[in-house]
Amino acid sequence: MSVSSAMEENPPKVNKWDGNALKNALDDAVKDVLLSHFSYIESHKLLDGRLMISSVAVGFSIFALVWDWLYPFPQSSRSVMLVCVVVYFVMMGVLTWYTTYLECGIFCTALNKDVAGIDPDQIWNASSSLKRFDNKYHLCLSQRTGGSGRPKEARTVLTVENYFDETGKLLYASVAKEVLRLYSDLDSKKN
């Protein structure tokens, strides 16, 4: 039924004491399950938004650097510097708002495109959080029908040590089982 993915054949090994590495490995595994078990397409819109905001901010900073080099302070460059600095920090604020409110932990968006092209896409969002020094990985899968639908959500909490062996290798099969269970939970839930 499902094609065996590269990650399934060769699950990653991480430093099991590094919480950040564990979360990243679990996120990658969940994303891999979602994309390889179903023929969903990944949507990069969220990450693209973040890249766009950061690029604009860095662009302004590079512009300030070049301008200052061409027209050394203080003659005439003061207002340009002021604008660049203010815009840069405003962009940083926008980025923080974006990551906190718009993204909120979503690391994967998969689209279930309708074959006939008539119905709007089903959008699946996977988000997760793992507190520092904690071993509870909170995973939330949400499904929304594109456009207007209210999202249906299913959450689960995974105890991190059950999904890695002693050497730090990811136990892909256990993760896949959890993800598929969440998926069928969501699918069967009537609105």
Binding site: P12, A21, N24, S54, S55, V58, S61, V85
Partner: protein, 179 residues
């Protein structure tokens, strides 16, 4: 075995995420740059924070002290103030005290400086034939200071290999560390 683990993290990233790692690094550098430029704008000085390099202002300032400068045009330069100035032709700024001031009605000033710990005034340091400093030579006026911290900058400048090693190490760490 431990070296390969974190490189694994990189291999699993797709090109968007790799681009984001570089952007992350660029944002950290840009934040430092923007804070510096912001300080330049607010204080009006081209170098708002300087490190004292010599002992010519002891016992007020010692080698390695950090000085905070402002350079507001409206504030006149008066005798007794500590100024940081650059002599034409040399790019290292000097921190000394103003001894004598001549001021014309239109606001043009010329002044003479001397280090507290020096026996003679700075005429020997000025450019050939120059006997007085002008407003445009001033980088800023010292407003506040933090002792000792500037020693790090002095060490980094004396041992540039150490500086590059630290910067390279930090850069690599930021590029490789995910989120």
């Amino acid at each position: 075995m431990f070296q390969m683990d974190f490189l694994d993290d990189i291999r699993r990233m797709n090109c968007r995420q790799i681009f984001y790692q570089f952007l992350n690094f660029a944002m950290i550098v840009s934040s430092a740059l923007m804070i510096w430029k912001g300080l330049m704008v607010v204080t009006g000085s081209e170098s708002p924070i300087v490190v004292v390099l010599s002992g010519s202002m002891e016992p007020a300032f010692h080698r390695g002290d950090l000085l905070f400068l402002t350079n507001y045009e409206q504030e006149p330069i008066r005798a007794g103030e500590i100024v940081v100035f650059k002599v034409e032709g040399r790019d290292i700024p000097i921190v000394h005290r103003v001894m004598k001031v001549h001021e014309k009605e239109d606001g043009a000033v010329k002044f003479l400086t001397k280090g507290d710990n020096n026996n003679v005034d700075d005429r020997g340091l000025y450019a050939n034939g120059q006997a007085w400093l002008n407003r445009k030579d001033v980088v800023g006026r010292a407003r506040g200071y933090v002792p000792f911290i500037g020693i790090v900058t002095i060490i980094m400048n004396d041992y540039p290999k150490f500086k590059y090693a630290v910067l390279a190490g930090l850069g690599v760490f930021v590029l490789i560390h995910r989120e």
